[in-house]
């Protein structure tokens, strides 16, 4: 399943792909610290709807972002198969709730196509590029803006 391109020595990237509903997304593997099963989160008051709450990650308090809601889909129903991708964003560690993790992709930079111009703000904010793998479209997600903007919410 792993797609490699031996001709391009430089610019090799590893990406983790995952599913939300029928769509596939991926993030850079270097940002991913671990993947764990879903456990119920403690709801946080006065928080945006896409913040599911906080869980205990070996003694640290980890906020959980429902990525489906964050990307503007219908709020995800959590199932037994739902997983949390624990990702490092800047100096914070955040859990991303997704439906399932599907694959690890090794690609070169030139495989990643620029995001086409679309009207969706969400696409502009989060999608960093598109990959066509085995006829499937996978969106590369940038994580920098996943957490709620401090200034926006605090005001």
């Amino acid at each position: 399943m792993t797609q490699t391109n031996p001709t391009a020595a430089g610019g090799l990237r590893e990406l983790i792909s995952f599913r939300i509903g029928a769509q596939e997304f991926c993030v850079d593997i270097m940002a991913v610290r671990e993947i764990r099963g879903w456990t119920a989160a403690t709801a946080l008051p006065q928080s945006p709807s896409f913040v599911r709450g906080v869980i205990n990650l070996r003694g640290a308090v980890l906020p959980i972002v429902d990525l489906a809601a964050r990307l503007g889909f219908e709020g995800g129903e959590t199932t037994d198969r739902s997983v949390i991708i624990v990702a490092q964003i800047g100096d914070q560690v955040v859990g991303l709730l997704v439906d399932a993790v599907s694959d690890i992709l090794t690609v070169t930079d030139d495989v990643i196509q620029p995001t086409p111009e679309v009207a969706s703000d969400t696409a502009k904010t989060f999608v960093r590029g598109l990959l066509a793998i085995d006829g499937r479209m996978i969106s590369l997600i940038g994580l920098e803006r996943v957490l709620p903007d401090l200034e926006l919410v605090a005001a």
Binding site: A41, T42, V54, N56, G59, V61, P63, L147, P148
Partner: protein, 727 residues
């Protein structure tokens, strides 16, 4: 950090310790403890600072320390009596020295005029200030040698006599085709060598054995040569000759011994060599070695100051050093915090494990359950021990207060004596750091507002000197710090009229004495009718109260007219754990800090009244306080809980405002480990922090003040947040 900067940093750290020693020594002397041990300790402190400052070329510091030291030396030698006036000058000098050290550290500008003025005062204390001045910086460098560490390096060069090499070939040397003359020539190449032949062993020609060796030489070489260079010359004849290398003076003993022995009896000597070759070859012997050292240390001191005690000081200092180094280590605070975090996780994990074991249906008396009990005890002990690492005696912050008292006393013209007790009481380092500001403010207040003027005191039949007491003690798992004065007490009439004037209370409000006393903590209250230079700096007691509350503490005041006032602060011993009441709200588990809770009660329908909209009040012993539904305030539910279905927590928040928090149920009381929400997320209004419960789930710790503020309306919430950000 480059090595020199690191050494410099260590020097300044040590300076802080020396300054503390200096101050406590001077204060002890002020208290009548003027034995030579105390005076010596004070002298040593100043001297060490001077020595270190010299090494880093901190000229102004060296100059001032020198003048200071000269004055102290006068006292040490008994020529200057430690009178109260002299000690006051010395204490002020200690303050200036502390400023200079800090100035040298930060590169901040120092108050030169003040230093110079005090230097003059100090010189006036000495017998002939002028001569001490001439000795000046040069002398400061000269007696640097009596810093114990430096002396070890400096002594061999400075004080070593000429080398004396006694060389006596054995027959074997010649048998191996070595030639004594060549060796002597090598020695001469090293430097100006004076070679003396010792032919006394030469027998009459008739008795001479052509194969034997009879001659010996003594070569005197310049003292600055390296001993190994000399030994290298004899590298190839090692074992084939008698060789003694020593300094002038300490070889004398060996020579004498040789002379006394029958020098002609080579075989006897040979036997001696073979029996104990090392005693002869290895030189210098360890025993005589320290002799020139001690001499080197004493000489400059003798020359500069006619007091042999100084050498003893150096030795005493040298002896004290290893003690302190062995007893404590400096550890990066981050490492300790990491350890504390890990132990916190261990505690949580252990609680989770216990819960799982119970769920699995093990009996209480089963081996597993009993083992878990032991584990629990052990984890608690580990947690306590780890917390103790962060604990420090409050001394470090108490120590700063005598200086403050001196300065404020000088400014107000009120003679003040500071009495401290319980300096050894330990509390978390973070608590200590954040205590300094409130304590400073309260002590300023105590002197400026609390103590009366000397005239008023005299009229009241009190001693002119006011007393400010600063005490610390452990009481039921908390630290209690008190700041008291023996002044006039709170003028309740005036406090009340000011509060009415500022619109803080209604003119006809029936207030108890205690309630009036506590008015001074209200925001916007300041009793000083004119803004005074000392305590009127725009910060009132409300700021003190806020900073104490931010530490999870409470502050109260008791006052007796004519007798004085006492502020009592009760603080948690650590900021890492919190005593909390675990409550449930709409299926969520929350923790309320116990310090804020006054009482809990089951509301009766008849006590709860609606005030329009969702606002409700509850009657508690004839006074109405707002009833706040925590579930609503945090947005967990849209419809308020019927008051009779829940439990109310009566809390006292910032500024003494009371409110009742309505929760669904109380689960119990527990000590919880505080976890930051900001680390991975951000601040959440109404939530102070998070913790992890025994079932492994996260529970939120309520920020009671914000919840009360939220219920007052969004505007006040923002105001609170701004205050919190600036405070």
């Amino acid at each position: 950090m480059d090595p020199l900067a690191a050494i410099r940093e260590t020097f300044f750290q040590e300076c802080e310790e020396q300054l503390a020693e200096l101050e406590s020594g001077l204060l002890a002397m002020e208290g009548g403890d003027t034995d030579s041990e105390t005076i010596n300790a004070v002298f040593r402190a100043v001297h060490s600072i001077k020595g270190g400052a010299g090494a880093f070329s901190l000229e102004p510091l060296v100059r001032f320390a020198h003048v200071f030291e000269t004055a102290l030396d006068e006292m040490r030698s008994g020529r200057l009596a430690p009178s109260a006036d002299v000690l006051k000058t010395l204490l002020r000098a200690a303050d200036v020295l502390a400023d200079q050290v800090r100035a040298a550290h930060d590169g901040a500008p120092e108050d030169e005029a003040r230093s110079a003025a005090l230097a003059e005062e100090l010189k006036a204390l000495g017998p002939e200030g002028a001569s001490a001045e001439v000795a000046g910086t040069e002398e400061a460098w000269g007696d640097f040698a009596f810093q114990p560490l430096t002396a070890v390096e400096a002594a061999p060069d400075a004080a070593g006599g000429a080398w004396r090499v006694r060389f006596k070939p054995r027959a074997d040397l010649y048998a191996k085709a070595n030639e004594a003359a060549l060796l002597l020539r090598e020695l001469r190449r090293l430097g100006d060598a004076v070679v003396e032949l010792d032919a006394s062993a030469l027998p009459p020609l008739a008795d001479l054995d052509p194969e034997a060796a009879y001659l010996a030489w003594t070569v005197t070489l310049p003292g600055e040569l390296d001993e190994t260079a000399i030994r290298e010359v004899f590298e190839f004849v090692d074992g084939d000759c008698e060789l003694e290398i020593g300094r002038d003076g300490d070889t004398a003993a060996a020579d004498d011994a040789d002379d006394a022995a029958p020098a002609f009896d080579i075989s006897a000597l040979l036997a001696k060599v073979q029996a104990a070759p090392e005693t002869l070859v290895v030189e210098p012997a360890p025993a005589p070695r320290p002799a020139p050292l001690a001499k080197a240390a004493t000489t400059p001191v003798d020359a500069a100051q006619p007091n042999p005690a100084a050498a003893n000081d150096a030795q005493a200092a040298a002896q004290r050093k290893p003690d302190t180094a062995g007893a404590t280590i400096r550890v990066d605070l981050e490492r300790v915090d990491r350890l504390i975090d890990l132990v916190g996780e261990l505690v949580i994990n252990q609680a989770m494990l216990s819960q799982r074991v119970m769920e699995a249906g093990f009996a209480r008396a089963s081996g597993v359950a009993m083992g878990l009990d032991e584990l629990e005890q052990l984890t608690r002990e580990i947690q306590d021990s780890v917390m103790a690492i962060r604990a420090q005696p409050v001394k470090s912050v108490f120590q700063r207060m005598p200086r403050l008292v001196r300065e404020v006393a000088a400014m107000t013209g009120k003679p003040v004596r500071l009495v401290t007790e319980g300096e050894g009481t330990e509390v978390d380092k973070t608590v200590i750091e954040r205590l300094a500001d409130p304590l400073t403010h309260m002590i300023r207040n105590a002197i400026d507002h609390g103590l009366e003027s000397p005239e008023t005191r005299a009229a009241a039949g009190k001693p002119a000197e006011g007393v400010v007491r600063l005490t610390a003690a452990h009481r039921s798992g908390r630290i209690v710090i008190e700041v008291g004065d023996d002044g006039g007490g709170i003028n309740r009439e005036r406090v009340k009229s000011i509060a009415v004037e500022r619109g803080l209370i209604a003119a006809d409000a029936p207030l108890s004495d205690e309630e009036i006393d506590n008015l001074i903590f209200m925001p916007g209250f300041s009793t000083a009718s004119e803004v005074s230079d000392i305590s009127g700096r725009g910060v009132g007691m409300d700021v003190v109260r806020r900073s104490i509350q931010a530490l999870g503490g409470r502050i109260t005041i008791t006052s007796r007219p004519g007798k004085g006032s006492t502020f009592t602060m009760s603080l948690p011993l650590t900021l890492a754990v919190l005593d909390g009441m675990v409550v449930s709200v709409q299926g969520q588990t929350l923790v309320a800090p116990i310090t804020a809770i006054v009482e809990t009660l089951l509301p009766k329908a008849s006590d709860v009244h609606s005030l329009g909209g969702h606002a409700r009040v509850i009657a508690i012993r004839d006074s109405y306080v707002p009833l706040i539904d925590v579930g609503m305030a945090l947005g967990y539910r849209a419809e308020p809980l019927a008051a009779t279905q829940g439990v109310a927590l009566l809390i006292e928040g910032e500024g003494g405002a009371r409110a009742a928090l309505l929760v669904d149920a109380i689960q119990g009381q527990r000590q919880v480990v505080i976890k930051s929400l900001e680390a991975n997320y951000r601040q959440v209004p109404g939530v102070a922090a998070a913790t992890i419960l025994g079932d492994g789930r996260v529970a939120l710790i309520l920020d009671i003040d914000t919840i009360v503020a939220v219920s007052r309306g969004a505007d006040s919430l923002r105001a609170e947040k701004r205050l919190a950000a600036t405070g």
